[in-house]
Each structure stands twice: as C-alpha cells, then as structure tokens.
Amino acid sequence: MDKDIAISVRGLGKRYVRNSGPKHNSLREVLVGKLTTLATLGLKRRRKDHFWALSDISFDIRKGENVGIIGLNGAGKSTLLKVLSRIVTPTTGEAHINGRLGALLEVGTGFHQELTGRENTFLYGAILGMNRTEVEAKFDAIVEFAEIREFIDTPVKRYSSGMYVRLAFAVAAHLDPDILLLDEVLAVGDAAFQRKCMAFARSLEKKGSTILFVSHNMYSIKTMCQRVIFLKKGRVVFDGPTAEGLKLYEDDSRMKDAHWFWSDDDERPIKFTSGVIESSAGVDSGVIAHGDRLTIRLRYSTTRRIMAPDVRVSIDRQDNTHCMTFSSKQDGMDIPWIEGEGELVIQTPPLKLTSDFYLANVAVREKSVGKLLAAQIIAHFHVSDHDLGSLSYGVFNEPGAWRHAALAPANDSEVPAPTRAFIATR
C-alpha cells in the first residue's frame, strides 16, 4: 500500500436482513418459527429480505486529507464509519487503515453514571484506545478544555448535559489520532462549545491528521473539508471537490419528500415541482444575510381539485429545531381551491435567524385540518451574520432596548458607579 494513503477501501459492501415480520427476540419465538417451518416441510419458508446498506464502495484517502461524507438519511454514511472503525464487519470487499484510528461515533458512549468525572475520564480514554499513562499525561489539559475543574470528583449523573458533553468531547479531543472518524459529534452542546469543537477539528487538520467527517451540517463540511463523498442508497455517486459535491447534494435533495413523510397513495394529488428561495437582491445562492427578506417561489401541479388547501412553509435549523412556519391560512390568504399548475410566492418579513444552516420545507393539507397531501424539501440555505459573530445564541436574534440606572451608588470610590443610562444601538 502506498505510504501516503491513510484509508484505502475496495469494493466494500454491507448487507443487512430487513426485518419484515416480527422480530425473533426470545428463544420461544424462534423455536415456534422453526417448528412451523418443519411442519410445513419448509414450503412456507420465510423469504429473507436483504438489503445492501453499502455496496461496492471504493476510495482512497491520502494522509492529511479532510473528507466529508454526505447523503440523505439512510444513505449509508454511519454504516460506512462503523465498518471503518471495525464495529461492524463488512459483507464484501476490504479496507486498509494505515495509522492510529480514533472513532467518535457518539460522544460520551461508555460514560458510567455512578462514576466521577475523573474516573470517567480514564474509563472513556481507555475505551477510545488510550492507555493509562497517556490519559494521566493529558489529564490536566482535558479538564482545562472541558472547563469542569471544580466538578471533576462529582459523579457524572449530577452533571448538566452540557458538562457531560464537554467532558466527553474533551477526552476525545486529546486522543491525538492519525485518522479521526467523526459522526455528527460536532453538533452537540451550545453554540459556544460547537465553535470550540470546530476550532479543535481545525487544529487537528493543522497537525496533519486525516479526518473523515459525517455531517448534515453543510456549513461545517464547507469549512473543514476540501473533498466530499456523496452517498446515495449505499453507493458512491460523487467523490470530489466540496463545492461541486455539496451543489449536487443540495440539488438532489431539492423537492424530495421530507424524510418523515409517508403516503400510501400511488398518485399524489399535489406535487411541488420547483422551489426557489431568493434573497432581497433576487438571487438564489443558498446564502442569506441575517435580517434579509426572502422571497420563496413554489410551483405546483395537481391531479385533482384540492379544496381549501393550507400551504405551510416551515424553516428548520440543521439540528432539526423547528424555527418557524408560514401558513397560507393563518397568514390570511384563503385559497378556495387549486387545480392544475400554479405558483405560490411568499414574501417573508426580515428574518432574524441566527447564523446557522437551515432547511425549508413545504407541506399541504386539504381543508386545513385534513390529510397531509405532500411534504417536500424546498432547499437548504445558510444564514450568514458578520456583525453578531460569536455573540449569537438561540434561534432568533433581535436587539432589545436597554436602560440602566444605579439605585444605591457604592461608597467605595474605587468602583466606578455607572451613572449614564444607555440604550443599545444595533
């Protein structure tokens, strides 16, 4: 194998048995199942329903490369990382890993609730493949990074979820692997901690580590990876420069059914055929400035008349936080019926969403409370904000009017008492 190659994958495949019938989880059920098969002389043998979570995956990753793995839910991204980290065994093909590999598939796996932060640091370090001397040498740096020094001897069951995640990530961050597999783990904790994680990932990059990164956060993929591998139904459909791959992925997910939507109708009564999200300048670039008005244009086509439709456009943050919904009914536009083809245009008020990655969906109900007829992804977009920078927390950011007056001025002259009332100007 070439010395510069960190990961080499050839023809990798993973087959699972799809559980169509009830799961056989107790011995009794299996015995009954086997007896039935015997009694019917195997004629009624349950057909095994296989599916390939991964098929014929091949790629090489050079040392020091950062590669993002993208794809819709169920495309095989996590399975690929699980195979590469040796948790599951592939069905076909092989992979060569050259170097010390660290896999962070879920932050904090293996933490024990009853143990203290200190004990868990050693436990988690060992689980991630560090030995005791190594954890000892890095212990102070880990506690520093996690910012939990005063709680280090408290059982983690008393930790807040933020402290828990910080400690887990801090241990993982000090693993110093040659190759790091990351599965969505950067999308934990609050915004400030996420930034810390991103900074850490970039520091690994500077050290020359190879990073394989699964994320739905296109923004972090854009900033971290020069190359993306786009998986679709377990196959590689694109492997190349990030910008090109993300464009393919975003185009590919446009107008697709939302992953939670399921319909038993063979023919949809209504389908949205196109959707664009324009900034106030009239461009659909996928980047929107904080506070900008959007124009969302949707084209539809129906196969029958739909009475009193309620069209809802919702905006979700990349971590699936539901941020807002525009409803045609609620916003006061009563559409008696729609039929054939047409266009809907929504002009939004200035959107004060914080800088993050968002996804716009459209859904339609007949007679507002009737059956859900369609739910589709319109597009992904990123809200950029140069002013707020690291100060933006939460979903929305609106300035408030502040006033301050000192009621009991301190006598101690060394402490300057604020006397001037001020109003925030932003």
């Binding site: 699972y16 989880n25 107790s26 011995l27 009794r28 299996v30 699980k82 195979v83 590469l84 980290s85 040796r86 948790i87 599951v88 065994t89 592939p90 069905t91 076909t92 093909g93 092989e94 992979a95 060569h96 890993i97 050259n98 170097g99 010390r100 590999l101 896999a103 598939l105 879920e106 796996t109 293996g110 024990h112 009853e114 143990l115 004990e119 050693f122 436990l123 060992a126 689980i127 991630l128 493949g129 560090m130 030995n131 005791r132 001397t133 190594e134 040498a137 890095k138 059982p155 110093d176």
Partner: protein, 285 residues
C-alpha cells in the same frame, strides 16, 4: 509531548489494520486482546467501583452474602438434617465451599450477560469483545478476597491451623474463574440474540450449587456416580479448597483432573464460538 506519551502512542493501537468480511475459524486474535489490556484493566476497575456505589453498607455486602448463606446451611443442613461434614465443624466446612462457589456464580452470571449490559459500548466502539467477559470474571475476585479474610477469622475461631497448602487456593480460584469465563463465552453470544439467557443462568446456578459438594461432603456421593459427578469442574475446585483449608493428606486428583479437562474443552470451544459470533454483535445487540 513527553517520552511516556510518545511511547504510549506507538504501542497503544494498531498501526496497520485490514478490515475483511471473514476471519479464519481459529484466528483468535489474542494479540489484540493484549494490546487492549489497559481497557481490560479499566473496565474491571469500573465494575468494582460501581458495584457498591450508593449502597449504605458498601463492600460489607461481599461478606454478608456468603456469611448469610452459611448461617442458613448450618441451621438447615448442619442442625436439622444432621449432614455429615467429615468431622469438621459444619459452619467452616460449608464456608470453605461457599467461598469459591459465590465467586464462581457471580463471575458466571456477569460474564454471561456482560455483552448486553455493555451494549452501548459494543454498538459504538471497537475493541476485542473478549475484553468484556474477561473483565466480568475478574471484577468479583475482589469480593472473593474480602470474603477470604472472613475465612481466616473463622479458621482462627475454630482453631484450624493454616498450612502452606492454603496457597493452593490461588490456582484453584483461577480454575473457577476460567470455568466462569468459558461458560460466559458460550452463553454471552446467545444472550446477544436471546435475552432468555439472563433468566436461565440464575436457575442453572441454583441447580449447580446442589450438584456440587457444598452443603454435603464428596464422601456422601455413591462411588459408582463419582466419575459422572466429577464432570462438574467445581467438584474438584471445592474439594481442593477443603483440602487446602483443612490440611488434608491429598487432594482429589481424579475429580480435579477430570474437571480441568472439562474446563479446557469448554474454554477452547467457547473461544472459537465467541470469535465466530463476535462479528455480528453490533448488528444484532
């Protein structure tokens, strides 16, 4: 980076790994278990630390359990049933057997259900899965050591002089631990698929206890059944304990020999079975 870390890094994990669908049936990968010995140690320590956390009596439970069993046995079998005890006071006669049995039962129970208890780890992290049953049979050794101190106190109380033979309990308890590991290797992978194992083990251990010379001496077993009876490796271990504690002339080499062969056969078969099943743990658990 200091020298210790540098060294740790170069020995910590494998440098070059090949991932393939199947491994040879007899490729037991003992080398990788050795490389992950720090994890083995840490998981064992975790099990020890966790066991008596938030229990008011703490490690005293390690003593209470076997002592209570012996009190009950003494009343029921020693006093009511007048069970012979080879001329030794019944309480210490029973305790010398309850001691290894308690360890064996606990180790077997934990080794059999360990994979499922640590399902989170199995699903999300790679390490040689053999580490789990190994850690599970090691952790109860501490309880054994604590209870052993009680035995020493009882020996002083009943005037049993310790001899150099007492050191023989070290290899004997290792045999008991190996047997628990072997059973865990067989039952652990089954438990991954069928949780029934969890309910079956306590019941099998109950039967096993009466199929071992704990409340009665080996001399009570009819001679024609003795060979069959000795297929239970705990027979040799328990009689060995009594030999070591009561300074008898010679241990029951036949029972011990048969038991040892059974343990080895169970262990080798268990290792092959466990390694064969290992690949599907994360998919099924």
């Amino acid at each position: 980076m200091n020298a210790a870390v540098q060294k740790a890094l170069s020995t910590g994990a494998e440098r070059h790994v090949v991932i393939r669908p199947t491994k040879g049936l007899f490729d037991l990968e003992m080398g990788s278990v050795w490389r992950y010995r720090d994890l083995l140690h840490t998981l064992m320590m975790r099990d020890i630390q966790v066991l008596y956390k938030q229990a008011a009596l703490g490690a005293a439970w390690a003593i209470i359990q076997p002592v209570f069993a012996v009190v009950v046995f003494t009343v029921v079998f020693g006093n009511f049933a007048k069970m012979p005890s080879d001329g030794i006071p019944y309480p210490i006669f029973a305790f010398a057997a309850v001691l290894p049995w308690t360890y064996f039962a606990e180790a077997t129970r934990r080794a059999s259900t360990g994979l499922v208890d640590d399902a989170d780890l199995v699903r999300k992290v790679y390490f040689p899965r053999l580490i789990i049953p190994l850690a599970k049979v090691s952790a109860p050794l501490l309880d054994f050591a604590i209870a052993f101190c009680v035995l020493l106190i009882m020996m002083a109380f009943y005037g049993v002089m310790p001899s150099v033979k007492l050191f023989a309990i070290i290899p004997l308890i290792l045999i008991a631990g190996t047997l628990a590991l072997a059973i865990g290797l067989w039952l652990g992978p089954i438990n991954v698929r069928f949780r029934d194992v969890k309910h079956t083990v306590p019941f099998m251990l109950q039967i096993g206890m009466y199929a071992s010379p704990i409340v009665y001496p080996l001399s009570q077993v009819p001679a024609e059944w003795k060979a069959l009876y000795s297929l239970n490796p705990m027979v040799g271990v328990i009689e060995g304990f009594r030999w070591a504690v009561f300074d008898r002339d010679s241990p029951d080499f036949v029972a011990l020999g048969i038991g040892l062969l059974v343990v080895l056969a169970l262990l080798l078969g268990g290792l092959v079975w466990f390694k064969d099943q290992e690949q599907s743990f994360a998919d099924v658990i």
